[in-house]
Amino acid sequence: MNLTVDDGQLLALLGPTGAGKTTLLNVIAGIVDYEGNVLFDGESVDDKPASKRGVGYVFQDLALFPHLDVALNIAYGLKARKKSLSEIREKVDELLRLMKIEHLKNRYPRDLSGGERQRVALARALAVCPRVLLLDEPLNNLDSCVRRYLRAEIRQIQKRLEVTTIFVTHDVEEAGEIGDNVAVLIDGKLRQVGAPSEVFSSPVDDEVADLIGSQNVLTCSSCRHIGGGLYEVNCKGTRIVVACEGSTINKIAIPAKEIYFYNGKPVGPKVNTYKGTILEISSPSPSVVKVRVKVGENTLLAELPKDLFNSLGLVDGKDVFLKLKLKSIRTYP
């Protein structure tokens, strides 16, 4: 494979279990033997051991030193590099503040929650001012709320520090949300690299398409802030409300599994509720039905479980109401 990550960029490395994501990180870090070349800023690091590559690595299970408290865990790399005590103290305090874990300074890893351990692991990796930051599914064992929150924090910190980062995940939504670019790795081979909207709208082959799941990527001609982190975008005349932290939205992606059909007009708020016409129904597998539906000038692809499809009685040409789940719609600047 041939993979380039631009300076200061966050690359989301996406792939199923066993694809080789961790192995790739280990190669970059220099903790496994490999054939090939790894270059940092054009300079080969192949002859450098892991301790000299200047890589910050957050392992999948975090690998915090259980016999050291939080402050000593963070200070470990600085002590290994023989920094002065005052320098170490200053850097540790800075990172404790950055990660908002000052109150955990003297606690041991076994006394921390999953989210707290993750922050400590990240602080430890950042303490050595790495040239490259490697994050191996660091949010794996956290509940979805904490995961979303920490994901946003990691992104903020990475942007602030402008450190080149590779973030490994098997979660498509996470890859799309966090990465400047997404690289898809399947069976040890790099299948596609590009901006999230590009990869999700144009998967290069069936295996990539299966991995990322069907996505409806729509171009937005306008974007209007309506308050509270919500925006109304115009996609070929169809107004869709989305949630976004930034202020510019050029594209949105609607997962096929997050389009909900109703035979009659659904009760409740009219937000993201539309009337459409069914164009085509296909069944690629015994348990899944794909439905192409026209909404205004847009054609959307929806995926339903077979039993749900049967209960709705959808047929070609039928008019139907559908709702788009606001929280599932991804936005791209």
């Binding site: 870090a29 903790i31 301790s51 392992f59 299970d61 259980p66 016999h67 050291l68 470990y76 050595v128």
Partner: protein
């Protein structure tokens, strides 16, 4: 509530002592010679201590145990570190250690009596053997049990192999090493008594044999009490050190 906890341990012991006194005093135990009352034991303990007999023999046993245990443990740890950190050394030494480890320390006594004779070197060597193999084993096992991910993490953070050994591997192996040390500290006392009973004219073991030949059950029981206290104290010392140095380990959660 604290007082009830202490009473829970003290009351049964007090009842046991009271029963002992009563049974011995009223000849309820078959063969009166062989169970002196508790108060007679206490008297004999004071007498042996005041006369210097107990201290003299105890010191000899203590010095032998200390020398044999310290040298055996130190060398055991050194070999254990070598085996734990180096695959080639492990494969080379493990068969020898595994073969010799199960042999009881007292099993070496006849051979050592022929090779080095009866003198101070004999009990010290027995204690050395008693300590060396289990500590080497525990050290190697402790080092091998350290999560490899932690070593890789230390590597990526810029630590040299020596730094990784001293700051990550050894500290994390300590709980297992201490388990070995704690068990062998108590075992060393049991072994020295046996060696002194069979082959050495001085020490607590020799005192046992003298008491036996004089049919002095009171002296024998005093020696048993001293043995129990020394064995218990040694284990407690290592337990204390383990508590201080391995506070982070899971099994100290309750404390």
């Amino acid at each position: 509530m604290e007082i009830f906890r202490h009473l829970r341990g003290t009351i049964p012991f007090a009842v046991f002592v009271a029963l002992w006194e009563i049974v011995a005093r009223f000849n309820l135990f078959p063969g009166r010679f062989f169970l002196p009352p508790f108060t007679v034991i206490v008297q004999e303990l004071f007498y042996m201590t005041a006369s210097g007999v107990l201290l003299n023999h105890l010191l000899r046993s203590l010095i032998r145990v200390l020398i044999g245990f310290l040298i055996g443990s130190a060398l055991g740890m050194a070999v254990g570190i070598l085996m734990g950190c180096n695959k080639v050394m492990y494969e080379a030494l493990n068969p020898i250690v595994s073969f010799l480890y199960p042999i009881p320390a007292m099993g070496w006594l006849p051979l050592l009596m022929l090779w080095i004779g009866i003198g101070e070197a004999l009990p010290i060597t027995i204690i050395f053997i008693c300590s060396f193999f289990p500590v080497a084993y525990a050290t190697a096992a402790g080092i091998k049990s350290v999560d490899k991910k932690l070593i890789k993490a230390a590597e990526t953070l810029g630590a040299s192999p020596r730094k990784i050994l001293t700051s990550v591997v050894l500290p994390l192996a300590l709980p297992t090493i201490f388990t070995g040390l704690r068990l062998e500290a108590g075992m060393a006392w049991r072994v020295i008594i046996a060696a002194e009973m069979i082959a050495i004219p001085t020490g607590i073991g020799a005192l046992f044999m003298q008491a036996e030949s004089l049919i002095r059950t009171d002296m024998i029981i005093v020696c048993l009490v001293v043995l129990a206290v020394m064995s218990f104290s040694f284990e407690k010392v290592f337990q204390y050190l383990e508590l201080k140095l391995c506070r982070w380990a899971k099994h100290f959660d309750e404390s």
